[in-house]
Every structure is written in C-alpha cells, then in structure tokens.
Amino acid sequence: MRRRFAAFWVTIGLVLSLAGCGDPDQQMRSEGARAAREAVSGVRTAQLVAQSLLDGKVWDQPATVMVTDAEEALGQVATTFDARQPESAESRETYDQYSEALSSAADGVTELRIALRNGDLDAVRQQVGQLDKTAEQLEQLGERAQ
C-alpha cells in the first residue's frame, strides 16, 4: 500500500516536472499567442464601443468607462507577457515580436481613451480604423500557437 502511494506521488512529480520543462521557444510562442488572443478581446471591445459612440448608440460616460476598462485589461496582458524571460535567441525574437504588438495595441486603446475624454470625434473615428488593423495583426499572432 505504502509502495503504491509512493509510486503515485513520484508519477505526479514527474508529470509536473515534465510540464514545467517544455521547449522554451514553444512555450514562448504559446504564451505570446495566448496573450495576443486576450489582447484582441480588449482591442475589439474598445473598437466596438467607439463605433457605437460614433453611431449615437451609447453616451460618453459609459463609453469612456468601457474603453478605460479595456485599456486596463490590455495593460495587464502586456505587463504579464513582458515579465516573461526569453531563454534563447529564438524565444527572444518571439518575445520582441509579441511584446511590440501588445504594446502597440495598448497604445492604440490609450489614444482612443484620450480622444474620447477630449470629445475629439475625428480622432475617435481615425482610431477605430487603426484599431481594426491592430486587431487583425493580433489575430494572426494569436493563431500561431495553441
């Protein structure tokens, strides 16, 4: 009985160690792709809110709150990904690529929030188009790994 119990824990330990010792390049791609998919959510939300504002479907206050929420969520995604440590030249390349895309997405939503608070509808319209491209780019990055 005791032997079986020990074997169970050894197996659990092995599974956990193997889970933590995957290919670092692959891990970086997976984490980057997941962060990109999470970022798409924030960017598309901000875009949808801004478009609804331009169409006269929401007021300024709820629109600003929703875009600010999306900005915070994006900031969190970017910060979490940036905290990762690339362990090889290839993973460093992947890291830079995803980090830049996430940072650019966060900046785009920040620009949108500034334009919204300033009541600058032309800038909002311009930013909606820009965010569409950003979201498409992130979608492609998000599909590169599971």
């Binding site: 998919r37 999470e38 006269g56 479907k57 007021w59 206050q61 709820p62 929420d69 998000g142």
Partner: protein
Amino acid sequence: MKRLFAVTLGILTAIGGFVDIGDLVTNALVGARFGMRMAWVVVLGVIGICLYAEMSGRVVAVSGRPVFDLIRERLGRRTGLFALIASFLVTLLTLIAEVGGVALALELASGVNYLLWMPLAAFAVWLVIWRVKFSRLEQVFGLLGLLLVVFAVALWKLGPDWDSLMQQATNPGPTGHETWATYAYYGIALFGAAMTPYEVFFFSSGGVEEKWERQDLITARSNVFVGFPLGGLLSLAIAGCAAVLYLPAGIQVETLGQVILPAAVALGKLGLAIVLLGVFAATFGAALETSLSCGYTIAQYFGWQWGKFVRPRQASRFHVVIIICLILSILVLMTAVDPVKVTEYSVVFAAMALPLTYLPILIIANDPDYMDDQKNGRVLNFFALVYLGLLLLASIAAIPLMILTRAGR
C-alpha cells in the same frame, strides 16, 4: 381575482428576481467563449433550483418554519453548523459581488468610479432593508429586474443565425482554442450561478415573512415552476447576445460594461438606459436578498428572533448581522479587488457548497414529523438524488479544475 393577481405578481417577481450579478457575468462570459454550447447547463441548473426551491417552499408552507431552523433541530448543532458555515460564507461572497455589481452599474451610468459608489450602495441596501416592507422590496426590485427582458429583444434585433445558435446548443463541447478543462470549469460556474444557495434560503425565509400556509402552496409552486424557468430564459438571452456579438470577434467578457454592451449595439441609447436600470435593479435586489439571507441563516441557526415581520428592535441581532455583513462587503471591495472577479469566484465556491445546502433540505422534506402528508414522493426523490449526485460531482471537481485551468484562463 385577488389570488390570480397574487400568483401573477409572484411569477413576474420570480422572473425578475432570478437573474443576479452571477447570472449576468457568467452567462455573458460563457456565451462569448463557447457560444450556446453551454445552454444545457442553464437548463440543468434551472430544473435543479426548481426541484429544491419547491421543496423548501413546501417545508415552510407545511411546517411554518424556515429551513435553517429545521436543519439545526433535525440534524443537530454540529452538522447544522457545518452547513451554516459553508452556506453563510458563500452567501457573504455573493453579497460582496452584488454590492460591487450595484456600484459598477452606477459607475457605467455616471462615469464616477465604482469605489466611490460602493459605500453609498451598501448604505442604500441597509436603508431599504431597515425601512421598506418585505413584500414591497421583493416586488419593486423583482419587477424592475424584468427590464432585463431587453436582452431577449436585443438578441432578436441583432439578427442572429438561429440555426447556428441551435446547432451550438445541441453540440456541447469546447470550441476554438478552448479545452475540455475550461469547458468543465465554466460549466460548474454556470451551474453554481443558477443554483446559488441564497436563493433557497431567501425563498423559504420569505415564505415565513409572508406567513405562507398550505393553501399558499399554489403561489409558491407557480413562482418556482413558471417564474424560475422564465428567468432561466433571460439567462439564455444574455448568453445568446454574447454568442452573437462577441464569439466571432474573439471578445472575452471581463467587465460589466461588456455584459450590457450588446443591448446598446442592438437598441441604441434607449436599450442602454433600460439595461442599465435592469442591471441596477437585479443587482440591488440580489444585494437585498443576500444581506437578508446572511441574517436569516445566522439568526435561524442560533434561534434568535429574525425577519422583517417584527420591528427591528425585536430582531436586533438579526439586523446587526446584516449591518456587519454590509460593512465587511465594503471593506473587501475597498481593497480594489475586481467585483467581476469576485463574482466569478463566488459562483464557483457556490458550486462547492451546494451539497451542504441541498442535502439537509432533502432530508427534512422526507421527514413525516415535519411534512405530514406533504413529504417527497418517490419520483421527486429520484430526481432530487440524481441532482445531489451532480452537485457532489461539481463540488469535488471545482477546485482541481480551478487549479488546472488557472481559474478558467
């Protein structure tokens, strides 16, 4: 005529009162991630809450005593205490989420940060409990909660591909990058949201507040068997809106703003105003119900005078418990913890505590000393036991799945 009015009013109140912050957030979240592939969980949850709410309503109508009072008497102090701790902590967590939900709704309407609204929201909850008659508060917020029907209208206006939605509903399972583990995790969360323990405590204690007798069983049953399933349809409409608007766009629901946005996209500013009012009413109403439920469970277990049918002075300890719970909810939310995250965790923890809440009700509903000729029949017991098995399974799987999926990430 008077009876018909009471039954209709009860049903409408039950529909409006069915949806709370847990249902709002969880249904929108799973709709955005899985489409309608989890609709069966809502159906399962609604049948479960109907089974057990009817049982607890019958216990009250026949015995004239609330469920927790009987749990302590029938199962003894120690077992009763175990059930009390689990149910009370989950109800308190739900209260924190509801107060946060009220503050978030006010933030969306005004643009003022929710942290500033939160003490006011908690104070307003206390004031309404202190001043307003039980039947009045139940009816007003239940009926205002009916405004959430706007989600059904919004779904229709969004012009979905109904065949596609039906296909999703009839093909359960994860989609895209989702895994079976996240699917199961959110299935448990949705099940927990539909069968939140406070609903049963509030329903049964409310029966005592309204002095239910055997002849009121018709009202109680119509509330449960008509009102709750129609409330469940509201849940499906919320999930449907998110499935239509968010799933194709890759948007994941993380904020209350995202929950209400489909109504604005479909119906414009009028839809936004209605949904904001509906969300406010649903969360405020649920905050009242959870605060009262916190007081009910503790006071009934310790045998204190409780309820709104007596003056506050006569049920002082009951009111003190409510005040302490509201203060605790303010303190927790003041740490700037995200109320939506609190909601997500509260429905999962609710799922974990479900067997401890529902098993004692099943035992009492089978006791002829309390129930006389109204004890459970064989068919009802069969389904109740099947559900108890499901509740146990959900309860055991909740924590491992939470760890495995990193809380559904």
